[in-house]
């Protein structure tokens, strides 16, 4: 199975996605579109949580901010989709980077609670600021026309999403292998030490939050056009659990793992489509099972079994097993561990 390298698998996946509109029915194409949106969401969340180590719970809210901004600018202010989409992504990015300020003082559980409170607040705004957001019922968004390309709207949106997912994947891949990715992991593994080596915490946390906000916001704008509809429950706590589950199942601190996690969970979501009420329990249970039994995610299994999946050593702290030589020396030294 030497040909089953990361590069080949990803290229095959991309190729399949590229030709899918040629034979898939509209529903299958919609699911594929959803899959791509979740790939973007999972990669963005993984940059923040898996790499930079910031335990934030606002990804679904950022997703919602992107979707609402893109939708409302069109419906309320007459923007075209092509202006509204970048506005949604940029607003989510700005709000995201503002979160770096609380993240400078809060860590771990406290940051989780603060971001959770922010997420609940955005839900509240979506629900209650009815004159602007249309409340619990949500609102319809006009179809985006791709007549200038001669393709129907849903196919145009599908390709737009595919291009976004591929580009955002490549950007994340570049970032994590750069000095910036190294700084993220340094902050995750030891803030005080990172700072003592000259890493500006505010700057890098803001960058991680901004990037992840941008990814979620762009995903929201694409989702708004895929569904032609925006309503609060698309961006609630269940969504957040879903994003988290994708990142954990795929593998914290792995960009490719995010792609795997999003794919697996979207497929599972489809299998469970008929059992709407059981979905939340299944995702909660899955998240828990992975945290306990396979904390490094599916990607760790793939790396172990197949050649050509090595990533730069940006894995999550729990992972590394000491090689025999170092372990031997460790026992030879006595003293405080």
């Amino acid at each position: 199975m030497a040909w089953l390298t990361r590069r080949n698998v990803l290229l095959a996946g991309l190729g399949l996605m590229a030709v899918l509109p040629g034979f898939a029915n509209p529903y299958a194409l919609f699911v594929a579109n959803l899959l791509l949106i979740y790939v973007i969401l999972a990669i963005g969340l993984n940059l923040l949580v898996g790499y930079a180590g910031q335990l934030a719970f606002a990804n679904a809210a950022m997703f919602g901010i992107g979707a609402y901004t893109t939708g409302l600018l069109q419906v309320n202010l007459g923007f075209g989709y092509w202006q509204a989409l970048p506005c949604g992504a940029l607003l989510a990015m700005l709000i995201g980077s503002a979160m770096a300020y609380p993240a400078l003082r809060l860590s771990g559980l406290y940051l989780a609670l603060a971001t959770l409170a922010f997420a609940q607040f955005t839900q509240w705004v979506f629900l209650n600021w009815e004159t602007v957001t249309y409340g619990a019922g949500g609102f319809k968004v006009p179809e985006v026309s791709f007549a200038w390309l001669g393709v129907p709207s849903h196919i145009g949106i599908y390709y737009l999403t595919l291009v976004h997912a591929a580009a955002l994947f490549l950007i994340a891949w570049g970032i994590v292998r750069s000095p910036i990715g190294r700084a993220f992991v340094a902050i995750r593994d030891g803030e005080v030490a990172a700072e003592s080596l000259g890493i500006d915490l505010l700057r890098y946390k803001a960058l991680a939050f901004a990037m992840s906000g941008f990814y979620a916001g762009a995903a929201g704008g694409l989702y708004c056009a895929a569904l032609n509809f925006v309503a609060p429950e698309g961006y609630d706590l269940f969504q957040m659990v879903l994003h988290k589950a994708m990142v954990v199942v795929g593998g914290l601190g792995s960009v490719v793992g995010s792609v795997l996690g999003a794919t697996l969970l979207v497929l599972l979501l489809e299998l469970l489509r008929g059992f709407k009420s059981s979905q939340e329990i299944v995702y909660g249970a899955l998240l828990l099972a992975f945290v306990i039994f396979l904390p490094e995610g599916v990607i760790s299994l793939v790396k172990r079994r197949l050649a050509g999946w090595e990533e730069p050593m940006r894995r999550h702290a729990a992972s590394a097993e000491p090689p025999p030589s170092a372990a031997a020396e460790a026992t030879e030294e006595t003293g405080r561990p």
Partner: protein, 261 residues
């Protein structure tokens, strides 16, 4: 002319006075030992110098410029390095990558270079990796380069942490108990390494140490803290004979030992 000056620094935490009017003048290329019983304020002194804690009163100057109010990352950029009481390698990065974080302040490529894996960024990365490798050679650890930080033994982490701080060529390095938990062999290795850092690199070292043998052997001068006050300072031989030090420090150490047993 001193490279590092701690000028009448005081700091308290709630009711505890951790440092009380402490003054230090440390000339270039000196190894300064800091000793004192547990809770004397040694770690707090380092934290004040490197910007983790802000003093209530007093000033800290590096090459004559005040460091008060600067973030730790800014102070690092001015040429101050430090290691911690418990070694802090980044567990998820390789040893080589850990060393490259030490070169963070010298990276020039920005967000766009990173996002698009630009040629300039990759060239810079190769150059940084090369320097990191050479620094690992300086401490004799080139063979560990590709291991994850989490895989290193306690003693190895210690040495890599020191090398990681040195790579950016700081003027002053603060070491918090570098020898704790080291085997005798490694501890002797550390002696030699610290002297080489001073002699070959001209770096000033401020070292907290409980292992009295190490402090007395490598320090040019020793400062004794007790209850947050600087109670004595001088050459190791003089400190050893100082009656105030013997009562304050050794006396308390004996008390502690009696209490522990």
């Amino acid at each position: 002319m001193s490279v590092l000056t701690v000028d009448q620094v005081s700091i308290g935490f709630g009711g505890v006075v951790a440092l009380d009017d402490v003054t230090l003048e440390i000339p270039p290329a000196e190894i300064r030992g800091i000793i004192g019983p547990n809770g004397a304020g040694k770690t707090t002194l380092l934290n004040v110098i490197c910007g983790i804690n802000r003093p209530d009163r007093g000033d800290v100057r590096l090459d004559g410029a005040s460091l008060i109010g600067l973030k730790p990352s800014r102070i690092a950029a001015k040429g101050l390095g430090r290691t911690f009481q418990t070694a802090r390698l980044f567990r998820g990065l390789t040893v080589l990558e850990n060393m490259m974080v030490g070169l963070h302040l010298e990276t020039r490529s920005g967000l766009f270079g990173a996002a698009f894996s630009s040629r300039a960024m990759r060239a810079e990365e190769r150059e940084l990796a090369e320097r990191a490798r050479r620094s690992l050679e300086f401490v004799g650890f080139a063979h560990l380069a590709e291991l994850p930080g989490a895989a290193l033994s306690f003693g190895q982490s210690r040495i890599v942490e020191i090398a990681r701080t040195l790579i950016h060529e700081p003027k002053v390095v603060l070491l918090d108990e570098p020898a704790v938990g080291l085997s005798l062999n490694r501890s002797a290795e550390l002696d030699r390494l610290l002297r080489r850092i001073r002699d070959e690199r001209g770096v000033t070292l401020v070292m907290i140490e409980h292992v009295i043998r190490l402090v007395m052997e490598v320090s040019d001068r020793v400062t004794v803290l007790s209850y947050g006050r600087n109670i004595a300072e001088g050459r190791p031989a003089d400190i050893r004979e100082n009656p105030e030090v013997i009562t304050a420090y050794l006396g308390r150490a004996l008390d502690a030992r009696r209490a522990a047993s």
